[in-house]
């Protein structure tokens, strides 16, 4: 079943040696999905034990007007005033968020991403951040993808650094990982030809890291890209993370593979991803991105059920409550709209992990007791090589 090549790679992983491009490609092609998952799980448990993170976050998209014409997008409307296009004023945006927020469960993060609107002044974004800071001081502001930052720089005639500095002054705290799509130019040209290139996307994150900011990174997989393109993408991220760690300021916190959903967009003839592909991509990402702390099984893109299994295939985070998500919703996502904290805690526990609520910077907000479900997961044995390393006994009443 498992290939001979896999055993070599397994030995490298256990010796803490870095995987190269050929290794990564071989992992994507490994027929034994469970052997691959078990290896990724070993690394995941070495880093995080049985913990699985989530946060309380709320989404805001202030505009879906966008000058870019990405084939995979079901969200953006190209022109202001086109049917279905929406652009909120700052007070409208604050009001929209207020409506989404349950005061009994206030979010620790507000996540803002938008279309590339050609008609708004830069001050609009500064005002938005200031208003968010004033209205929701308890919520970390993780706003604007690198594609937006790059668009602002071009559109308003500033450098990346200037844009970031002005937004930070207005209240920006970290960058989400969106807009990375697939870096390889032959793919990016075909799916997202008129927005930030790979180098530009990476340059924005490099600059953000230099300014001490934490950021995330994504990959949009499961459309026209090949495994080689995915590997190229992971290796570029890993290289930039090496730089960031060496510089010792900001860096990537989490990598989030995003499954392409072929509904209501320019690539709807494609079949989309499957559960096996979703898990494989998580596992390979965990093994290749050895300098990333966190890997997210983003339940909105993969469905909660696949995300649960993902927590055993390398992922240590399921993202958050995600109140008010609209982007995957526009592509007819298979997942429900938003989850409560209780639902997320249950989702994690059902997956045999210990739920840990975090803030955006992965500081612990609350450790939830393990509270074993009836009859499940009494003792966990971990396989290492031929030997079983013991053992982590779970007490039904609380954390071990």
């Amino acid at each position: 079943m498992r290939s001979a090549r896999f055993s070599e790679i397994e030995a490298k992983v256990r010796a803490d040696a870095r995987l190269d491009e050929r290794d990564a490609l071989a992992l994507f092609e490994e027929p034994d999905l469970l052997a691959l998952g078990a290896l990724a799980n070993e690394v995941r448990e070495r880093l995080h034990g049985d913990r699985a993170y989530f946060n309380r976050n709320v989404r805001l998209e202030v505009t879906n007007v966008c000058v870019a014409s990405c084939n995979f997008c079901s969200f953006a409307r190209l022109e202001d005033g086109a049917p279905g296009s929406v652009t909120l004023t700052v007070p409208q945006a604050i009001e929209a968020l207020r409506r989404k927020i349950d005061p009994a469960e206030p979010p620790t993060e507000v996540h803002v991403v938008n279309g590339l609107h050609p008609g708004l002044p830069f001050s609009y974004y500064e005002e938005l951040l200031r208003a968010l800071r004033a209205e929701f001081p308890y919520a970390h502001r993780k706003c604007f993808t690198a594609v937006e930052i790059h668009f602002f720089a071009r559109h308003y005639g500033m450098s990346h650094r200037e844009v970031l500095e002005r937004l930070i002054a207005a209240g920006l705290e970290s960058l989400p990982g969106g807009g990375a799509e697939v870096f390889a130019p032959e793919v990016r040209q075909r799916i997202a030809h008129d927005k930030a290139t790979a180098d530009e996307w990476l340059a924005v994150h490099r600059e953000a890291h230099a300014l001490g900011m934490m950021t995330n990174a994504t990959l949009l997989y499961g459309h026209i890209e090949t495994f080689a393109h995915r590997v190229d993408h992971l290796l570029r991220l890993r290289a930039l993370q090496d730089e960031a760690i060496a510089a010792g300021r900001g860096r990537f916190q989490a990598f989030i593979p995003l499954a392409f959903h072929p509904d209501g967009n320019g690539m709807q003839a494609l079949p989309g991803t499957t559960g096996v592909d979703d898990l494989r991509t998580l596992a390979v990402s965990r093994l290749v991105l050895d300098n990333f702390d966190h890997l997210k099984a983003y339940w909105v893109s993969s469905t909660p059920k696949v995300a649960q299994i993902g927590l055993s295939f390398g992922a240590d985070d399921v993202d958050g409550t995600i109140v008010g998500e609209t982007i995957y919703t526009a592509a007819n996502k298979k997942a429900p709209d938003g989850l409560t904290v209780d639902e997320l805690v249950r989702l994690v526990r059902e997956a045999g992990r210990v739920p840990v609520e975090r803030d955006t910077l992965y500081r612990v907000v609350r450790e939830h007791p393990r509270a074993a479900l009836e009859g499940q997961f009494k003792v966990r044995e971990r396989r290492q090589g031929k030997h079983l390393a013991v053992v982590d006994v779970v007490h039904p009443e609380g954390s071990s």
Partner: protein, 627 residues
């Protein structure tokens, strides 16, 4: 109060008599299989447990007091009109697995093929006696009925005698048993004292028994005095261990994990490691209930999956996943059971109740035929307005008009019909079979533990009734699927007990083609809170089922409840079948789960999981690769 389950046969009477009047004991007497069920499901503390059940449950302590044969026992026999080496098929009374296993070992040792899989038919005791009128059939007869047929058949094998002659060791049929560590000194003292009293009362017991039957007492006296002893000494324990080892080697029982408490300091046998259990299961070896529970709870997700995948490869073409083109038709939603988990049913007289007309049915069936379908799954509520003739007409009409395979009427519906028509189950099944029924769907099994059934579906049949319908169906040549719906009030232990019951029946009949499990789909309209759930638990449950059900050929992935993505992943966790292209599935979809797929999408998913895809019929015969 100690809850004790004992056996009502004469041979056990000396052990029981001293307990009957003990105010500290709540004594239940029943057939050995019921005694085993009680201990398995926690309904008693101590049981006079058949040794096969002790091995099947695992992690059992036995007291050195039981039913031991040191020569001919007369009450456990194989009878036939043909010489034993010419016995080709076995009719047997499944109420004692120990005797059944012993019969299979002794016949195999004598060169008979009857012990081989598929040559065993299970019957009630009086049916066994009728079946052995036929040449080539051997009947295993147990307990008091065996004493009744003494001298009536030309070829008779006394299984106690056969064992003792072949091995030179006594044979232990049953012993006082409890879960590991549960015997207290007080209980042990009580059971020993009762055994001593009973020993002294043997003659009186035999006399009373003879009087009750109006027969001479002498042979019963000699039976109790000479044929049976109650002490498990060194030689008997050696005999016990040899029997369990031979049965495990023949894959009739799991390797024994029992300890005999002959001295106070009896050491616990070493526990096999989780790895050793995984290896055994992957290689097709048998797991006890205790071992299955350990793997289910303790093995890592990956180790369970890898072992289940290996076990799956032993059963099937390793690179093939099958599916069937069929349709689930719920012919009526009127139902009298009102199960708490069901959002589909309507009570009798409710305005939302329906019975599908021939016209509507015909349209649905024609669509199945047009789509290349080969079967329909026909199930419905328990509607008292529909009589057996209605079903017979319906099945005949479908068969004649559309030529579709009929996977129809779950055990609950069969029992309902039997009751409605005042017929026995075999008659109902025989009539439906004659009208075209091909197989009986495994729906309504839920969890085959009565504690759970009482909590979620009070009006439904007991687990024994459900299994009884399947046993009868299999004997008539019908096939069926086995199912399990977990995730209500059930515990992990109860899920394992469920799997053991299916496996035991499969040992008898070989009639289950496949196993499917899913978790309860909670939705408004049902009146029960969800219990254990989630995709990881689904994968673990499916994998442990693949490992426990070593005698069932196929395991299906429940994509209808888990979604296509998890269904696809489940193919790596022991499943080799994708179930069906479902046109509709009213019961699950009224509870909110509405995954739907066409054949092209199924084939794409299966291919992308790394398998070939082949269509099948209801008997899991391959129909060729679709174009």
């Amino acid at each position: 109060m100690i809850r004790v389950a004992g056996v009502g046969f004469l041979n056990a009477a000396p052990l029981m008599v001293g307990l009957a009047d003990d105010p500290g004991v709540e004594l239940f007497l029943g057939p050995p299989s019921e005694v085993a069920r009680r201990l398995s499901e926690g309904e008693c503390d101590v049981a006079l447990l058949p040794v096969a059940a002790a091995a099947t449950l695992g992690e059992i302590d036995l007291l050195d007091v039981g039913i031991v044969a040191r020569g001919p026992v007369r009450s456990v026999i194989v009878a036939s009109t043909s010489p034993l080496e010419a016995v080709e098929r076995l009719a047997l009374d499944a109420s004692s697995r120990t005797s059944v296993v012993l019969a299979r070992l002794e016949l195999a040792a004598r060169g008979s093929h009857a012990a081989a899989a598929g040559r065993v038919v299970a019957c009630s005791p009086h049916e066994v006696v009728a079946a052995i009128a036929e040449p080539g059939v051997g009947g295993v007869i147990i307990g008091d009925p065996a004493l009744e047929v003494e001298g009536r058949f030309p070829h008779l094998l006394d299984l106690g005698q056969a064992w003792v002659q072949r091995t030179g060791k006594p044979f232990v049929f049953a012993a006082w048993a409890a879960r590991r560590g549960a015997f207290t000194d007080a209980i042990i003292a009580r059971l020993r004292r009762a055994a001593e009293e009973g020993l002294a009362a043997r003659e009186a017991l035999a006399n009373a028994y003879a009087k009750q039957r109006g027969e001479p007492a002498a042979r019963f006296v000699s039976y109790l005095r000479d044929a049976i002893s109650n002490t498990i000494d060194d030689a008997a324990e050696e005999g016990l261990r040899r029997f369990l080892r031979e049965a495990a080697d023949a894959k009739l029982l799991p390797p024994p994990d029992v300890r005999v408490l002959r001295r106070a300091d009896a050491a616990r046998p070493p526990r096999p490691t989780v790895d050793a259990l995984l290896l055994r299961a992957a290689e097709g070896g048998r797991l006890s209930a205790a071992e299955g529970l350990r793997l289910y709870q303790e093995a890592s997700l990956f180790d369970l999956g890898l072992a289940a995948d290996e076990a799956r490869r032993r059963h099937d073409a390793p690179d093939v996943v099958t599916y069937i083109v069929d349709r689930n038709v719920n012919y009526t939603n009127v139902c009298t059971t009102s199960c708490r988990f069901c959002a589909f049913y309507r009570p009798v007289g409710h305005e939302g109740g329906y019975v599908l007309s021939r016209e509507v049915l015909g349209r649905k069936l024609q669509e199945v035929v047009d789509a290349g379908g080969v079967q329909i799954l026909l199930q419905g509520g328990l509607n008292p307005a529909l009589r057996i003739e209605w079903y017979e007409d319906l099945l005949r009409w479908i068969k004649a008009t559309y030529g579709l395979g009929l996977h129809a009427l779950s055990p609950e519906e069969i029992l309902h019909l039997a009751q409605l028509e005042d017929l026995d189950v075999a008659t109902v099944l025989r009539r439906l079979h004659a009208a075209g029924l091909d197989s009986v769907p495994g729906g309504g099994a839920e969890i085959l533990v009565d504690r759970v059934r009482r909590a979620i579906a009070k009006a439904k049949c007991t687990s024994a009734e459900w299994l009884g319908v399947m046993r009868t169906a299999h004997r008539l040549g019908l096939r069926s699927s086995g199912t399990m719906m977990y995730g209500t009030v059930d515990t992990a232990e109860e899920r394992i007990a469920h799997l053991i019951k299916l496996r035991d029946l499969q040992d008898e009949t070989g009639g289950f083609t496949a196993f499917f499990c899913w978790d309860f789909q909670y939705e408004r309209g049902t009146r029960i809170a969800p219990g254990d759930h989630g995709s990881v638990l689904y994968l673990r449950t499916q994998a442990i089922a693949r490992l426990m059900l070593d005698n069932v050929a196929h395991v299906g992935a429940s994509w209808v409840t888990q979604g296509p993505d998890v269904g696809q992943v489940a193919l790596r966790f022991g499943a080799d079948d994708w179930g069906s292209v479902m046109f509709e599935e009213n019961v699950v979809s009224s509870a909110g789960t509405t995954f739907r797929m066409d054949a092209a999408r199924i084939e794409d998913l299966v291919h992308r999981a790394g398998y070939r895809v082949v269509r099948r019929n209801v008997r899991y015969e391959h129909l060729g690769t679709p174009a």
